[in-house]
């Protein structure tokens, strides 16, 4: 309170004002009448349904990507959002550091590829729609298989084992004859349905129907995840994240609920993988680099781990940013080449100025606020 600490004092008030501004927005949201919230929510959803139409996005200035087909980009973004929502269960709610989440995506995509593609050895040639539930179920099973031995480990060890899992899946994809390596699987069927004149809903050129399909599934998945987190299951997950020993001693069967977190997260990744394979028509081992696992984890943390909206925003922004760099040249170099450099810079800046993520979980926000107080007291 004396003159010696004047400068930090002033900076603090500016930050305070900013925080109050943000606080006011969230307050206003929570105190807004129900119908206002619904109208806003419907407006946002409608916006995203309209987004991939050229008639709409041509008016959006710099938002459409210059170097890539915008509807294709939006499909990729929607897949990342779905993955971020799934990983958020594992990392954000249950607090299990999973570095191999993309491995489950690969399991989902390969299940579809093996069971539908004419180039696969099993030659079942089943329709896509029939295989989707099988893919989800198999991914869940692989989640349980990975989780049963490893969820007895904690923290760093779990991270290492999951990292190994993703690499195993990738190497199996590269080198196993059954999974066709680089050559991959082609002619994977698209989702079913056709217009009155016989044209299929889900064609090769237009990515919009796929995007709409994924968007609809994201909405359903988010409703499901919300139901879980606002229940005994969600409380158990958060209690495990907060203090696993105390949770056990309060009667939480921690192993069972950690396994459920793993399985639910895996199921969502499996769904995403099946959707990806159904759109892409072609799956090979190059689709499943380890980097993807890292990107999704970064997206969840970037958006605000433990918050569903945060995960959606994080997944969407990160995937979009990467694509946005395509086709932009600076001093004769395409920025896309340096996308991960920028990505890293953004993350570092985030960690300094907003470590709790863009849209933090209300709990996290409180925690970081308190820590800041502690630091100031310490100074």
């Amino acid at each position: 309170m004396t003159t010696t600490i004047d400068p930090p004092e002033r900076r603090e008030t500016a930050a305070d004002k900013l925080r109050q501004g943000r606080h006011a927005i969230s307050e206003r949201w929570h105190h807004a009448p129900r119908w206002v919230r619904w109208v806003l929510l419907v407006a946002v959803i409608a916006f995203f349904y309209a987004l991939p139409n050229k008639e709409f996005y041509q008016y959006l200035g710099p938002i459409p990507t210059p170097g890539a087909n915008f509807t294709q980009v939006m499909f990729t973004v929607s897949i990342y959002v779905l993955l971020a929502v799934g990983l958020n269960i594992v990392v954000g709610f249950a607090g299990l550091l999973d570095l191999g989440y993309f491995g489950f995506f690969a399991v989902g995509a390969y299940t579809v590829a093996v069971l539908t593609s004419p180039s696969s050895d099993v030659k079942t040639l089943w329709p896509w729609l029939l295989v989707v539930p099988i893919a989800i179920a198999l991914t869940m099973v692989s989640g349980v298989m990975l989780g049963t031995p490893t969820l007895r480990l904690r923290g760093d060890y779990l991270a290492l084992v999951t990292l190994g899992f993703a690499e195993m899946i990738r190497i199996a994809a590269v080198s196993s004859e059954f999974l066709k390596g680089q050559r991959g699987f082609n002619q994977i069927p698209h989702p079913p349905g056709e217009y009155a004149d016989g044209r299929p809903w889900f064609g090769v050129l237009d990515a919009r129907p796929y995007y709409w399909l994924v968007l609809t599934l994201i909405i359903l998945v988010v409703i499901g995840v919300r139901n879980l987190t606002h229940s005994r299951v969600g409380r158990a997950w958060i209690s495990i994240r907060e203090d696993e020993d105390a949770a056990q001693l309060m009667g939480v069967p921690t192993f069972k609920f950690k396994l459920w977190a793993f399985a639910s997260g895996a199921a969502i990744a499996g769904l995403a993988g099946a959707l990806f394979a159904g759109k892409q028509n072609f799956v090979n081992s190059q689709n499943f680099e380890l980097l993807n696992s890292i990107i999704i984890l970064a997206a969840v943390i970037f958006g605000g781990s433990g918050n569903i909206v945060g995960a959606i925003v994080g997944g969407g922004l990160v995937a979009y940013m990467i694509e946005r760099f395509r086709g932009i040249e600076l001093f004769g170099v395409e920025l896309y080449e340096y996308r991960f450099l920028f990505f890293g810079l953004v993350l570092v800046v985030m960690m300094i100025f907003r470590p709790q993520g863009l849209i933090p979980n209300r709990r996290r926000a409180a925690e970081f606020k308190d820590r800041r107080k502690e630091v100031i007291v310490g100074e």
């Binding site: 499901g224 229940s231 409380r235 158990a236 001693l249 009667g251 921690t254 639910s264 409180a366």
Partner: protein
């Protein structure tokens, strides 16, 4: 209230095993010649005592006497090297921690271990969930069981927060509660698991005399509701004031057991414990 038979007005747990009381005191927890070694260190040496239904038992001893170790063995965190611990006639060892909680044993922690980023209400709801069966399917599809258990758990949590006197702080994060409120919240959370036995590990640590007095009242009220209480405590006045019987440990051995007055006059105890002026306060 020394030798009247205990008639628990509200049995905390419905189905106690049908052991007809031959002795009028029904054993709830039996520590049967328990020895616990960590490598060469003998933490507990042939400790043997019984906790009877409806009483408040104090477990005391100087620092490092093995109180918390004994406590951890009783709640299933450590496995005894020799001997065994029986709760309601069943062996504790080999049971999972959450199963022991469901059998009716709940505890608090010497260094508070709440779920800091959950609200007070949610903390207690986690305790109440110990007997709930809602799992992923019923929560995902919002089946009737979910709604029923959610309502029950919430009502129970509100009632318990009222009982420990912090219902005005219900929606506050546990980390934002004051120290005393956190201690109370821990008790509420433990009570939410419907325990037959509540183990309190130094619940008065860091309390001023007025707060200690309130805590005494609370412990008595808990006992009056039919919950047996095991109390580990440093503060002799608190222990003397509330317990029915006391077990004294020193260097991992039981050196005395009896009524508070007997223990207080026991020369061994005086030498080991009360002889230290700072602790006697």
């Amino acid at each position: 209230m020394s030798d009247t038979e205990q008639t628990p007005a509200v049995p905390a747990q419905a189905a106690a095993p049908a052991v007809e009381t031959v002795d009028e005191r029904e054993p709830l927890l039996e520590v049967d010649h328990v020895t616990l070694r960590f490598g060469g260190v003998v933490a507990l040496n042939d400790v043997d005592f019984t906790l009877y239904k409806g009483e408040i038992l104090g477990l005391i001893g100087p620092n490092g006497a093995g109180k918390t170790t004994c406590f951890n063995a009783m709640t299933g965190i450590y496995q005894p090297t020799e001997g065994q611990i029986r709760f309601r006639g069943q062996k504790i060892s080999g049971k999972k921690r959450h199963q022991i909680t469901r059998m009716g044993m709940a505890r608090t922690f010497q260094n508070i271990r709440l779920f800091p980023e959950m609200t007070a209400l949610e903390n207690v709801q986690v305790g109440a969930d110990a007997h709930h069966k809602t799992s992923v399917i019923s929560a995902l599809l919002r089946l009737p069981r979910h709604w029923k258990e959610e309502r029950e758990g919430r009502e129970k949590a509100e009632r318990l927060l009222e009982f420990v006197g912090i219902s005005n702080r219900m929606h506050e994060f546990a980390r934002n509660l004051s120290y005393g409120e956190q201690r109370r919240l821990e008790i509420a959370r433990a009570l939410a698991t419907d325990p037959a036995l509540l183990c309190l590990d130094e619940p008065a640590a860091g309390f001023n005399p007025a707060e200690k007095e309130e805590l005494l009242q609370l412990i008595r009220q808990i006992r009056d509701q039919g919950v047996t209480v095991l109390l580990i405590e440093h503060d002799m006045r608190l222990v003397m004031g509330v317990t029915d019987r006391i077990v004294v440990l020193e260097f991992g051995k039981k050196i005395a057991e009896g009524l508070p007055a007997e223990v207080r006059d026991n020369p061994k105890v005086v030498a080991a414990y009360l002889g230290v002026p700072d602790d006697a306060a």
